[in-house]
Symmetry: C2
Subunit: 536 residues, 2 copies
Amino acid sequence: MPVSRRNFLRGVGVTGGAGAMYGAMGAIGLAPSAAATPTPAFTPPAPSDFSLTGRSTRSVLVLGAGIAGLTTAYELGKAGYRVTLLEGRDRPGGRNWTVRGGTTETDLNGETQRVRFAEGQYMNAGPARIPQHHVTLDYCRELGVAIEPFVNQNADALLYYTGDTAVSNVAVKHRTAKADTYGYVSELLAKATSTGALDGELTADDKEALLEFLRDFGELGNSTGDPAAENLYLGGSGRRGYTVEPGAGLEAGTVAPAPSLHDVIAGGLGREFSFEFGWDQAVMMFQPVGGMDRIAYALEKAVGPSKVRYGCTVTGVRTTAAGADVDYVDAAGRARTATADFVVNTLPPHIAARIPHNLGPAVTTALGAAVPSPTGKIGLEYSRRWWEDDLRIYGGITNTDLDLSHVWYPSSGFHSGRGVVVGYYNYGQDALDYAALPHAQRRRRAVQNGAEIHGAVYGDDIASSFSVSWSKTRFSEAGWVDWESQTGPEYTTLLAPQGNVYFAGDHLSHAIAWQHGAMTSARAAVTSLHERVMTA
Amino acid sequence: MPVSRRNFLRGVGVTGGAGAMYGAMGAIGLAPSAAATPTPAFTPPAPSDFSLTGRSTRSVLVLGAGIAGLTTAYELGKAGYRVTLLEGRDRPGGRNWTVRGGTTETDLNGETQRVRFAEGQYMNAGPARIPQHHVTLDYCRELGVAIEPFVNQNADALLYYTGDTAVSNVAVKHRTAKADTYGYVSELLAKATSTGALDGELTADDKEALLEFLRDFGELGNSTGDPAAENLYLGGSGRRGYTVEPGAGLEAGTVAPAPSLHDVIAGGLGREFSFEFGWDQAVMMFQPVGGMDRIAYALEKAVGPSKVRYGCTVTGVRTTAAGADVDYVDAAGRARTATADFVVNTLPPHIAARIPHNLGPAVTTALGAAVPSPTGKIGLEYSRRWWEDDLRIYGGITNTDLDLSHVWYPSSGFHSGRGVVVGYYNYGQDALDYAALPHAQRRRRAVQNGAEIHGAVYGDDIASSFSVSWSKTRFSEAGWVDWESQTGPEYTTLLAPQGNVYFAGDHLSHAIAWQHGAMTSARAAVTSLHERVMTA
């Protein structure tokens, strides 16, 4: 779907822009006087509020055609620079990687997987969701990449936690866990409030307002008529979900009784509720229609595909008096050296750390300080959408303390013939454990654990599968990196140009593992480089 | 998009079916043994698990081609019955009504509106969202109506409540209100827990588990190092939203300070949080691609358009020894009488109550006991999607105690050239107040109040508008009806056939105002009628 340029007004720039406005105001929000503020004069349509003022024809070598590299090349190209990208893979995007039927990948264990997903089926192996305030969406708009909702929250998705309570080792709907947790939490706080335990904190009016909130929030009631039994969580509402759904005539619905306060609290049903409140995870979230790599290919097209040299492995980086040199091995296996006025190095820091350079030991130390973080996913392509047909789960995420961590149901293709479930999306030791296995064993383990949550249906109708371990993926070797400090000398060293070499990437941002981080970091590097050129 | 029949397994029938399974289990969820349950034998693909066994060629007159009438005719038709629908309007769907450019409607105030929305723009004037467990989705699947997410929850949509606190009379993001409310509620409960006020309710282990939950849920911390100052809501996190968004380099983001506990509680920021927990409102929700009336037209097509007589106003209903007679005035203004073996009357009860019949005074009393409930919406078509471009609100609902009640941002067409915002969706006295106004005044008032929330941008770029007042809409005269009791004699009278006349409609269900109610009620009437025919 082509996107009209008519509406590209006032996008969000490096520092957040309009999207941050309400957050900025916090509870203050829009001052009442805002309604009286005169409408700003019409702003001519513009693709984005990020642009470089002034043009240059200086040459820039960009190392890596991931999102940071592509964004760097794209923005520099718009300002006239002559850009060349060197990319180890044979495709753009880096970790922005959409796996489809026909995709072939050999991992660092030496195993080759050939993906056999049906036409139209895919898994976003890397980034898979975009918050509505991320600059990523501005690039989607600017580049005409159609978007659709990503289902990051679903009341009918499941929680499955091991333990020794009545709510342990069983699948519980998010909605049921919320109803019960909020119910008991509200009951407890209402009791403390009513008995005067919080009189030091609350005025009489505040107490009444708080109780009013809690009665609604926790659906508290009084089952006995005894005033001392007021504000109890009765657990009988449809918020928990129905055993028999309300329907025709006299069918008012049936709700199963709630477990005890002890089971709900000790079972830890609320341990991941706060996920939904996160700046980067709260609804709404989006995905490009057809796969996340639509962004990578749109950027590649905008940069000019001829500017990207694929299959090129960087082997040396040097700043020089005249500019910078980059040694690399090209797709044919020949050692080459490229020269430009500047280099922007967007390679993962733990990989860049191994490449010889003349930028000094502080840079080596800095690159080595980034701690690679493992993560992985498996895509299970089912020929029947049992999660919709049988369980009425239309997208969303199931959480578990089994080693799967998360199961994702697809956010598109509702009611269609098949779909790819992400059978695990895990981190840390769980990710390393799966990384060590060949694919067939990963799949077996994922299906076995998934069946604990979903029942035997989980093992039926699997048409094909593919797994990625990012720590075992060439040119990435991690899902992302962590820093001990993002103010310390290692991190800050990489924010400044080293001679004529700049660094960029999500690892040099406060949105690590997000394309937003890669894009804003690229914009920062580009801005710094351009200012230097313009004021030289 | 045609829907493959390959996957129509095990839909949800009258009583909820598989969709209710987890709810059924409540916190018990899937019993651990479920994983060991043998997979059921393959069930041949079927469009739905609702079907009538046995066939009949008896004739049935269906009064009203809304969703209940269409479903009645559709299901009876599948079982061989000869059905005819009499519909007052010139289109199917009843309150399932999608307003587009070219739509013309004269309301009971006598005002005619001609809709000038651009191609592709629409407003669902009646039902606009479908929960994932409603049987409505089964009909979408069965009839090949493509669906897409309806954005019923958005952390970046707004709350605007009047009052005299620091959070009153200003727009506050849902995310900010949640962060602050959950923060303070958690702080209060942590304090009560830590000071022993709840020792009668909680074991030592439960207390620790509860505190662990509250620290995460409310993002509690300790700013002083003083153990007595533990578990405080510090309010400094991105959950509130950022004034400066995290980004490149050292930009860790800036958060505005939280308002006081008193302001948050007394301001009532949490008064509508529970909306999101409701059985029928919790995410995920869906809408047909292109407008809710795709369901009505798909049903009409499946029934056979020739079976629907449009422009026919029913003027009399009589049960007879041989069947039933219906008097009506046809589209040409001629008085006619139709005869059939049975009648299924799906007209709104308050309208049916005015139509002469021979079903006895109990039926008149029953129909008259339904209390019509007013509601209305205005669609404001903007030529610029300022809510996305400027405010980064991609769909969702803003809540307010201004007379608008709700503002809806569109759930489709993201990043496209224009969109229709529902400027109010209100009920009760607010709906009556707007109903009494001509459209131009409704629009002026809606825009003025919307600008209080959104700022002056709200009045810019409005290309066209349309408002509906359901109490002023012919053939409906209400948004829905309420009953004093759904077990009392008035309600139950209409659940039983009166001679050869049956009643159906969402008003005869526990899903009033939902298509699910209309459909399940139709299924109940059809089942009752068919059983009688088959056992006669």
